[in-house]
């Protein structure tokens, strides 16, 4: 029962990798063309829309708040550049540019999401 790996374990590995591949294909197939607009929401309410296509320069957005978030926008991409949250997952996500992609600071309730032409993107969430 313990210690030694068996033949079926390899099947599990292959299964997980196959699932990953299928997911990659599925996500690419369902999202549209170039990500054009990044929507920044806080607790479900839209605070800012950033048009990444018309961004000609580098822009910084200060969100302040409990965790003092800083968001950077460049032509075609956006990211959390600084946050005071304990886990730093948002900052470590780095740049996002593809439609449907997200970067989130869960403790702060802030989400950056790239809208795409193939998506049923939500503009606002009322709770």
């Amino acid at each position: 029962m313990v210690s030694n790996p068996r033949a079926g374990d390899l099947v599990v590995v292959v299964f997980i990798l196959a699932a990953t591949a299928f997911l990659a294909i599925g996500l690419r197939w369902s999202s549209g063309t170039d990500g054009s607009v990044a929507v920044i929401t806080k607790n479900g309410e839209v605070v800012r829309r950033v048009d990444l296509l018309s961004q000609s320069t580098y822009d910084t957005i200060q969100l302040g708040g409990q965790y003092d978030l800083t968001i950077e926008a460049e032509p075609g991409r956006i990211r959390f550049s600084h946050a005071d949250c304990p886990d730093q997952v948002c900052v470590n996500t780095g740049w996002i540019s593809m439609p449907g992609r997200t970067a989130a600071c869960v403790p702060a309730g802030v989400l950056i999401r790239i809208e795409g032409s193939g998506d049923d993107g939500v503009d606002a969430v009322a709770r």
């Binding site: 313990v2 210690s3 079926g8 099947v11 990798l17 990953t20 479900g44 449907g100 989130a104």
Partner: protein, 169 residues
Amino acid sequence: MKQANRLALLGLLTALAFALSYLEHILPLQLPIPGFKLGLANIITVFALYELNLRDTSLILLVRCFLSALLFGGPTSFLFSITGGALAVVCMFLLRNNRHLSVYGVSMAGACAHNAGQVLAAMLVMRTPGIASYLLFLWPISIPTGALTALVFSLCSRAFRRAFRRTQI
């Protein structure tokens, strides 16, 4: 196993799982991939699944997630860890008795299910299907982390059995 001894054992395992999850919190992560965790507390879950029954395993999981969320995190972190953990326990419970799988396969499947559960919860909370893309790197990572969990478990299992025999719990 006597009722009192079982209770003591469950308490011990829960404390251990909680301590491991605390350790993960204070340990600086070398790989800054979002959501990357070694899943050390899952060693206890796998252990309980193989040595105890489903009910005890679920109990340990529930209390451990509750304590972790209570001390560091919050309601959101409880939701995320419990959905991942619950899905993992169900998945591993179903695969546990499979002849073709060892702990390694079961644990890797559990790790995969754990990530799927967490991402699913995040997708529902944030209402963003795009969060599913996190699985594209979380799932491959679950292979080595699941295998590591199984390795530690199998090393502990021998020592535990030896202690079992000596003290007759």
